[in-house]
Amino acid sequence: MNTLALILLILFSGAIVAFLSEKVSKFLPSLIAFISITAAGILFYTSPADVFNFKLSMAGLNFTLKIDEFSRLFVHMIIGLSWLASMYAVGYMQNKERQGTFFFNMLLSIGGMLGIVAARDLVSFFVFWEIMTWSSFLIVVWTGADFRRTGIWYMVFSAMGAYAMLMAIMMIYSDIHTFNIDEIIAAIAEQRLPHLVEASVLLLFGFSVKAALMPLHVWAPNAYTQAPAAYTAIFSGVLSKMGIFGMALVLLSMLKFANPADFSLVYINGFIGQILAWLGAITAAIATLYALIQTDAKKLLAYSSVAQLGYITIGIAIGTPLSVMASLFLAVLHALFKGTLFLAMGAVERQAGTTDMTKISGLIRRMPWTFFVTLVSIISLAGVPPLAGFVGKWMLYEALITNGNVFMVVVVFFSSTAAFLYSYRILFGIFLGQEEDDTAHVKEAPLSMILPMVVMALLLIALGTYPGLLFDPIAQGMTVLGFENVTWQMTVLSNVWGNTVNLMYISTTIGVAFVAALLFLTLKGRKGSRNVGTKDISTSGEIPLEHENLTYQLDFFKPFERAASPLYRRKMTKIYDDLSNGLDALFDFTRKIYTGNGQTYALYVVIFLVALLIYVQNTL
């Protein structure tokens, strides 16, 4: 039996078994999910690299699956994050209803993602893509709250993306009658693909939906928020990266072979790449702005995910070796830190009952481990040295500047800075500050939930110290995309002015400063501070209403919001709402054709008959 097929089979059959096992015991599905992912992971890591190759001829089509070095990068992410998330889910999902459905869909979507990165033909790519989409849809609506807004929107946008892809696939098929990606690339190289431009635009559209690029991002914040945290980690961490994977596939491995003279429109660094990069930049900026004003931690992180995906898209779209590397680096990092953050928020939600930052505060004493992992990942997220987020951002800036996109750097830099603001808010809102009375009972999450988070936090620290650990696999993966020998000096960045900056120094310096500050503050805080409740009015200058929460969690960025209020006034969702209302009215109008009067129907028949007769007799 083929190893790759076996891995997929384990996941899919595990899904079915998990679904059915709910009848036996509530606890069983989570265990089965964990076991299947573990088994798949063991199988993947113990097999030699060249066995991941699977061909199937069925229904008149040839399906090819193959894991190359580039896909391997994503497989690492998928399996690693899913494994940790499923371990976490065992504890997280304890005592919840309908676990069977949850783990069924979770395993399905993991299998779907593996299938996507392994697919070497467009039909199996699409099949796995759809499986991933609908299973993630079912998890998004799993909690059942707000089905209409969240669920339907997610599915509609996904379907729009998927059908755009299908359209593109069909265009390619009509030209060369094959779905095989290698053959398509060959055809592009030989310029036998007249529909290349349309097809690639449509494909990119489809991938942009999953990557939540700007005009198509409206589904993402709600969907990320709605899904249970154990899954949101996967959702935001790797599932959204499938869009990035697809973009890389189109931009870097397909379009690269297009003749620059013929396809100057779409060629890398050309029109489409630029547009995509700008969309990414705008997404990053706007999503960051929205993240700032969220009060729900999960929603904040959701917007933050959208913003981060914007950065990653920029890197892929610019398409220079450095930018691609930066982008892949950021992708892996994002999977790690956003995964950790969502898991941590899940822990908070499970223990404290909510992730609303205005309701809880001061959990640092109750949930110290969670605080620790949150801190680590937030430092990564904000792109502050000493952790690896800084390295990724730096690489991206450098790539952009060397490529001449200086203005884009400004946008990215702005949103990166703002990211620091919102990430601080999480830290402060939930963990720091005064302790609420009603969170006094909160306990630390169980070990099975802490462990995955801590593992990821440690990974983040390790990567921050030795970012080069990641450069090797990325560089290897990039050889598949045609970027041979991307040279990267471990821990050394060359800046714009030609000097080299040793990252190690920066990191060490900042690390030392951080520790010093920590020590200083801790020592200072020992004395003279007093714990006050959030409803203690003695700290307040005015006379508040009774039980009014006066902490900073409320209106955290009030001044900023006031300043930036014109930006918030226009909502993207409004446009879609208007559109859907308009369509609704149109549909309602259209169906009035069926008047209910049988005679009218008969009249239609005769009108149609006569019209057809006239048409046929006069034209054919």
Binding site: V606, L613, Q617
Partner: protein
């Protein structure tokens, strides 16, 4: 407005129908000479007498060459009866409404009593001689149904045995199908005629199984049409009677 649209549509449709009929000159011979057997019609005209010994070619076609259509057709009628019964079905409690209307005149009653046997005999004659003279199962059946109709109208209390109707209808239908199946069983085809002695042309016993089938069809059609009318007649609401006599 709508009326003018419809009139326009009718004119256009008429134009195209006439245009189509232009290719079908009236009264022209389109079959070719019967001996050539170029078309089915010519074949039937040429072969009916030698092959089936039936004088009435239409009967031969209806019962034998295209007997399958006839089977379908009696099925349509059968389904119409079944369907009518289900469409106009009333639950048990409301079923027993009397067929109320003014009693018919004595003339009608007497006339009906006299005419009824005659009509039935005429009908039987028509379908028994279906293979010799114009007429056949449908016609005869319809005539018999008319006779029953007469009785139903003349005598408000005329009780038609539903059970009888069902029996006749079903048995006739089964007879038809089993004659067809007999052909299959004896190694021929469905509705095969050749296993039955052909007889001589223009005698009552001729045409193989055709008269038998037509008799079965006659009974069946008679029972079905009577059934249809009976069902229609027995649905009444209270106001119905007054409505027709103004």
């Amino acid at each position: 407005m709508k009326r003018f649209l419809v009139i326009f549509l009718m004119l256009a449709l008429g134009f195209y129908l006439i245009q189509a009929l232009h290719f079908v000159p009236f009264g022209a011979n389109r079959m070719g000479a019967p001996a050539d057997k170029k078309t089915v019609a010519a074949f039937y005209l040429n072969e009916t007498v030698p092959q089936t010994a039936v004088a009435n070619v239409v009967t031969a076609i209806v019962v034998n060459y295209r007997g399958f259509d006839t089977l379908g057709e009696v099925t349509v009628l059968f389904l119409a009866t079944t369907g009518l019964a289900s469409i106009l079905y009333k639950r048990r409690d409301e079923e027993e409404t009397e067929r109320v209307s003014k009693p018919s005149s004595t003339i009608l009653q007497t006339g009906a009593k006299v005419l009824f046997p005659l009509v039935v005999i005429l009908g039987v004659y028509v379908f028994v001689h279906g293979h010799l003279t114009p007429g056949g199962g449908f016609q005869g059946g319809a005539i018999i149904a008319t006779g029953f109709l007469l009785m139903l109208i003349a005598y408000q209390k005329y009780h038609l045995s539903h059970s009888m109707l069902t029996w006749v209808e079903s048995l006739a239908g089964i007879l038809f199908v089993s004659i067809g199946l007999w052909g299959l069983i004896t190694g021929g085809t469905f509705l095969e005629n050749s296993w039955f002695p052909k007889g001589t042309l223009n005698s009552l016993i001729s045409g193989g199984a055709i008269p038998i089938i037509y008799i079965a069809v006659g009974f069946k059609v008679a029972a079905e049409l009577t059934g249809v009318l009976d069902i229609l007649l027995s649905t009444k609401d209270d106001k119905s009677a007054s409505n027709i006599q103004q």
